[in-house]
Symmetry: C2
Subunit: 387 residues, 2 copies
């Protein structure tokens, strides 16, 4: 499929997906239904168990029922197990194993350009995709390594799509720092409803399910943040993720407003906030969908707040507008204070040019598909067809 996608090129891909989406808008709902073989739910055209008809235009889409979500979460757990199995053999194997075969994504922005795609990364995504295709063949998949699945198949992302980042924090991984994570999320009508942050070396797995308490290794967790931003411990993966101009100005304001800025934790920082271990805020920029979708249910289900820098929810439909800028806080009060800071900073004029150059830049992903195109494409879908 990757080969045919690569051959078809951007325009054909956009056209195909556009038709698929248009069909979905006018079809009956795709719904999660129980499979006869063992209770794992399956999405099918002939909906036995309707969840949310696409014709109803409620502002917040109805969630799948709790039982369905639990079953999907159990399946997400299987995905995380599968990823662990693939990743752990490569951990701390040194350059002899990994270095020769690392491919650097040259064409992405400064922050992203050095993110190597490891063998572990690919093997883990492959394993997760295989499982999804086996158990939920109609589900969509959007993974960091292999891009979007089956553009010409009869699935629609608006009902169910798995968004996967097998190794978030490859830079940590390749230097032996055990703070990377496997990110697994299920979007329901573009909203993350299940999220897993899995740290396979430390045997720590955070699970968030919309409407449920988040857990760490099965035990409920709760944020425990300060209530004043000046007392807050703030995380960002690296200051280099904030490009000159607007993002850097805003980040600098945040850095000056908190008690201590911390660096170097990737997705693990959100897990620390959710767990109430002493981290209060995470502010990041330049993230892909796969970098943040899984974080949403985990943070929210622990009592935290997560949004883009304008306070908008992190959904597929908001992705392009959010520009991958994510803010997570231990409580609503902190979040409001942080949003105040992020939205009262002046925007240097060079930002517009920066944003434009960001939108037009592309990178070749591992299979030759310009994967930024996927992000733009999905944004275009939203713009054209709405929810």
């Amino acid at each position: 499929m990757r080969t045919s996608l690569a051959k078809s090129g951007l325009h054909a891909l956009v056209a195909t997906l556009a038709i698929t989406l248009e069909q979905a808008r006018h079809s009956e709902a795709f719904a999660y239904v129980d499979q006869p073989d063992g209770g794992v739910p399956k999405m099918a055209n002939n909906a036995l168990n309707k969840i949310n008809a696409p014709r109803s235009s409620s502002p917040a889409p109805l969630l799948p029922d709790s039982e369905t979500l639990q079953k999907l979460a159990t399946f997400a757990d299987r995905l995380a197990d599968a990823a662990r199995e693939e990743i752990k053999p490569y951990w701390r194997q040194g350059r002899g194993v990994l270095g020769q075969q690392i491919k650097v994504e040259e064409d992405r922005s400064v922050f992203q350009s050095a993110s190597p795609v490891t063998l572990a990364d690919r093997a883990a995504e492959r394993a997760m995709r295989d499982l999804i295709m086996e158990i939920y063949p109609e589900h969509g998949i959007y993974g960091e390594e292999y891009g979007i699945k089956d553009a010409d198949a009869d699935w629609v992302w608006c009902v169910g799509i798995w968004v996967l980042d097998p190794i978030d924090g490859t830079r940590s991984f390749i230097t032996g720092k055990p703070l990377f994570g496997t990110l697994i999320s299920l979007l329901h009508k573009g909203t993350p409803v299940i999220g897993i942050i899995d740290q396979c070396v430390l045997n720590e797995r955070w699970l968030g399910i919309a409407g449920e308490e988040s857990t760490l290794n099965g035990k409920p967790i709760k944020t425990d943040g300060v209530f004043t931003l000046s007392d807050a411990e703030m995380y960002s993966t690296t200051p280099d993720m904030f490009q000159h101009g607007d993002a850097l100005t805003k980040f600098d304001a945040m850095r000056g407003a908190v008690r201590t800025p911390h660096y170097g934790a990737d997705c693990y920082a959100y897990a620390l906030v959710a767990s109430g271990f002493g981290a209060d805020v995470v502010v990041e920029a330049d993230l892909g969908l796969y970098d943040y979708c899984a974080l949403v249910p985990v943070v929210e289900g622990a009592g935290g707040v997560i949004s883009d820098w304008t306070g908008e929810k992190l959904t597929l439909s908001n992705h392009e507008k959010s520009k991958g800028r994510v803010l997570a806080s231990a409580n609503p009060s902190l979040h409001r204070q942080a949003l105040d800071i992020l939205n009262t900073q002046s925007v240097p004029s060079d930002d517009i040019l920066g944003a434009l150059s960001g939108i037009t830049s592309q990178r070749q992903n591992s299979n030759g598909i310009p994967s930024l195109i996927c992000g733009i494409m999905l944004g275009e879908f939203i713009a054209q067809f709405g929810q």
Copy 2:
């Protein structure tokens, strides 16, 4: 003793230590001798087993023999065990336990001002000091929390002093990030000859002994770095540790020269380089003696190179000159390239003022002793009395 030190004031303290040092210069060597009770070596005035007479002025001091070092390393291991026992109960206990009792060191530099002193930190240092005072009552101790031990006692730092940092990376610790470490080192005539980096949550202990292979949990380790700086993965705890002026200019040059700058690992970064896990270089500034002494034997014993930014060895006598600026590399070639970068950058004129203000600033440590004084004092000793 801390009370009497606090009362005596700076001048009396300097005078007392100066006399102690002067006595040491003219006495016979203080040497490590076996104790009758079980083979742990002990330093005594009546040296039975002379190691290095202070009258001999060899440029590189002779090391204690291998057997003595091994015994001291076994004792260092006990210290690390004792620290673990004190630290682990406080790990991830949240603000309810720790936050109320955290003391912020307000008067230190920007980077250091937010370093909280946790209960765990103090308990661990206390436990280690107690053990040293029990087994090696004549040994000197310089710890981050409780400062210098027994300024009026009959010990001299030039033969044996334990330099302790119970929790390097308190900022990681209080946010639940398991990358802090307990640092334990023994200086022999001002040179680190034993070093331990202990990560008590991950059960990882790195041990370095001068002239021996370094180990991780008892297994030999070896660096495995690239040989070209532009391919290197570089760590620094935070960019905020590089103050404006010379340090920041040099750091920026390094950041531009390597493949990827990484952040947020404290002492753990040096352990990653030593272990050959994929990290190549660490560059840091504004470190205290207790922040780096333990790293030296670990990095060197793994085939790496560690020095200050001018290439000078990290010793007590060089501490003031080194300004706490540390560079560690996986191999000599990388180190040379990094030194070239660090020594060809221009020094902005404001650096001189910055350096002066750094020297004159003081902080009150936990027991009321201005502990920067210790650093200055030791520097003054060196300047006055040489080796």
